[in-house]
Amino acid sequence: MTAIAPTPVPTRRRRGDGGAATRTLVSETELRRGRNRVVYWALLAVVTAVFVVAFVLPLYWMVAGALKTPAELAQATPTVVPQDPQPQNFATAWEQMNIARFFANTVFYALGGWLIQLVVDVAAAYALSKLRPALGKVVLGMMLASLMLPAAALLVPAYLTVADVPIFGWNLIDTPWALWLPAAANAFNVYVLKRFFDQIPNDLLDSAAIDGAGRLRILWSIVLPLSRPVLGVVSIFAIIAMWKDFLWPLLVLQDPEKQTLSVALSRLANTSQVPQTEFLAGLVIASVPMVVIFLIFQRSIISGLSAGSMKG
């Protein structure tokens, strides 16, 4: 409950080792008792049914809708299974709605933003944790203070800043940098990384220094390899956040050719005349990368999530 856990929080395994699992509210022996068993199975059935209806069915409906013909989709009494599946709806959406372009844009923004966040935030966290400069505490404090700022409150001044960056005089509107640079100012990343680096013993770094390794070399060949778990969690969350972001890209990417998938879908929903079936296919395409990432990295995501709520 206290600190950020850099290593995944141990979670209980599936029912296979249910007997050895931690004790919860209701004990195993209680559950096995006559009437309780019936109650348990009834509850399990109800919860499973509710979950299928509430969380699986809507997604199924999206995919099924994307596979229907426009006529079938428009029926007053909807069909549950597409009568005449149209997988080419996806291809049409990909090409005609220009989804290919927006998809590529979003991938580019997400990967670039991830890379920049890692470089900037790892370097900052390393300096604050291991190089400990004068006023380092103040810098960290000011970075953490930004966690208190709701993104909403900064929207307008941040937009004006991006349109005319002080000192440099750049106009970042319609460039990827408008997404990347503000994303690098991520206090949560710096904090999580610093907390992890703090646990790496200084002796280890000192002995490398005696062997003649420079600070950068130490970061690259000792600190980073030891930090794989935390780098993984930070990376996953960075990519997810970039992919899902809506309001900021809506403001700073005005050229339709440069928009993210989310912003483009919002615009197409309001203006275009594309058939609903293809539009649903577009929604499915926008979701697939996130669902895949979730299924692959669910352990890291779930443990990072519970650690994240304890930030501060």
Binding site: T2, V9, R14, R15, G18, R23, T24, L25, V26, E30, L31, L44, V47, T48, F51, F55, P58, W61, M62, Q75, T77, P78, V119, D121, A127, P133, A134, M148, P150, A152, A153, L154, L155, V156, P157, L160, T161, V162, L181, P182, R215, W243, F246, L247, L251, S262, L265, S266, A269, F279, L283, A286, S287, M290, F294, Q298, S303, S309, M310, G312
Partner: protein, 314 residues
Amino acid sequence: MALLTADKPRTTRTTEPGDGPGTQGRLRRRIQDNLLAYAFLAGGILCFALFSWYPLVRGVILSFQQVNFVTDPYWVGAENFEVLFDDPLFWTAWKNTVVFTGLALVLGYAAPLVLAILLNELRHFKAFFRIAVYLPVMLPPIVVVLLWKYFYDPGNGLFNAVLRGVGLPESQWTQGSGSAMISLVLVSTWANLGGATLMYLAALQGIPGELYEAAELDGASVWQRLRHVTLPQLRFIMLVLLLLQVIATMQVFIEPFQLTGTSNPDTITVMVLIYRYAFTVNQDFGLAAAMSVLLFVVLGVFSAIYLRLTREAQ
């Protein structure tokens, strides 16, 4: 004692800069180390300065200025705030935001807690439940909103088809004046339920099993164990999630923006109005900044409590 402490500064002062070659070398090293450290920090400081610290200050300044992009911004005193208070939409937006936050609490605050307690007791399909409840959180918010728009369609949307099927009266959902707000809250609740549920689940697994065993030995029923063991153990995270939910829902944007538009008085929220002031109808950044400052002050109270709490917990 007093003498000793009085002496101390003097002895340390002799090792300060400029005394002997050894200390000079040390000083140079320290400066070099600091320079190196700040070289590593430079990117971070620059990004924070430009896109976090500076906009905060600029936001406050802007709220007292008129920005028109023809002349330089000039000071107008509290005029922006006066305009805000005279705008009926301003009050509507705040009222709607409070209603949205309140309804979202009613529908979505207890639900994850109840779900998590239930799921923690179920011995089957654990992985399925976890994945299913969190899937909506993973979807891009715009996909969630547009998917629900398709369900809400009063003509041939899924929801009205179901209502027709079971013989209930149909609803206008987002297009009805009375049902619009609750429709938005439903979308938002569905989309965000999973995060809180998984956090409660993690907290539940942190409760030591001995507590339940001891309570059971004392003859406590399941209900009593829930009241006197589970809930007290979850008090901290319940408070944290309450604050996080309030902070997040008060900034609601995408649901009203996409489902009911930026001019609908039934659902316009603070964030939508800020967007409208700055980027669509008014194109007045000063006015939008003034509204942002007010939102910031309100949310700042909740954020401060939140940070206080989580820091104390460490």
